[in-house]
Subunit: 202 residues, 2 copies
């Protein structure tokens, strides 16, 4: 008896929830290219962007990845995405983290070169998604000017999506974005003495 | 002159930072399978897990995905991952969201079936990564018992990684995890009236 009542209650509650959900979905009608930002000190910022690349590739659209900090590193995701041939272009144009290069001028020059490549993608009608990986770091250290970056992003084809990653997103970047997620570290295995592992961190 | 000083200051600061960084890395020596959780109300929880799958696939390891809520939906990531053939097994065993089915018994039966498949993966020595997508939702509604789920996860092969996604992760799940990231919504494009788009939301 109680179980029957429980089920009836559950059904009623969920029917109501569905009504709200359907109304919500119906109210959203616009489709256009999004500017999204993944920031915060937690893991998953770049990984979620690469997961999205996968989704776009599965839909037959072209993806361009520009990495502003990582250089010619050997990463698992890069290997995997090679399977998609011409559908994806991967540009790892960084020189490494600022504490690796220890040379501000060199960092700036690398970011300038990376931005030229990014800007070419932002001007390509056939590119569905541009991932600007660790761009927030380049902006934070003023290796690139925010105004110029936002102006170039704003003039892209209307159906093109742009995903920006990296800690410490500038307020102006958050302001300009359609969607912002902050990845918050609740717990991290490095703290327990576990090292970076192949397939997980790289 | 100022510029030279600036560069010298930058170099010194970054050299110091590198020293700290190197010491940090050297202190982490353990390698083992991780239990990670992506929770929170923001976007990117499942997407980051699929991005990680890509990294593992790029490293030649096997991946099993079990979806506890999503059913036989047509998703871009699923299409894309078909390219990896036997290296990946994708099981979408949900019946849809609870407000779609409106039938608690049916939801529980679907979760039970999904757990059997998950458990088989957790017993396979050759599987490098098991993604338990939206498992937190199944646990939240008590469709599956947390104790049993954690016990099955704990007895997996020592080098196997497990990634759990979904809002409202239970305290016991967070307690058991090696790594937890909370995806926090700072801004969401649905609020601006933009609808779910192919390649982005599915």
């Amino acid at each position: 008896m109680t179980e029957v009542n429980d089920n009836a209650r559950h059904q009623k509650k969920m029917a109501k929830r569905k009504e709200i959900q359907d109304r919500e979905v119906a109210s959203k009608t616009e489709a256009r290219g999004l500017l999204a930002v993944h920031t915060g000190a937690g893991k998953g910022k770049s990984t979620a962007a690469f997961g999205l690349a996968l989704r776009m590739l599965g839909r037959g659209r072209k993806v361009v990845v520009v990495q502003f900090i990582k250089g010619a590193w050997d990463t698992g995701e890069r290997h995997a995405l090679e399977r998609f041939g011409d559908q994806i272009a991967w540009h790892a144009l960084g020189e490494g983290f600022t504490w690796e290069t220890q040379d501000r001028e060199r960092d700036i020059a690398a970011c300038e070169r990376a931005w030229d490549v990014a800007n070419a993608a932002l001007n390509s009608e056939d590119v569905g998604l541009v991932i600007l990986d660790e761009l927030n770091i380049a902006l934070r250290y003023d290796y690139l000017a925010l105004d110029r970056v936002l102006a170039d992003i704003a003039q892209r084809p209307p159906n093109q999506h742009v995903w920006v990653t990296g800690r410490n997103a500038k307020p102006g970047m958050i302001e300009a974005a359609d969607m912002v997620t902050e990845m918050m570290p609740v717990k991290h295995h490095f703290k327990a003495g576990i090292r970076a592992q192949e397939g997980i961190e790289f």
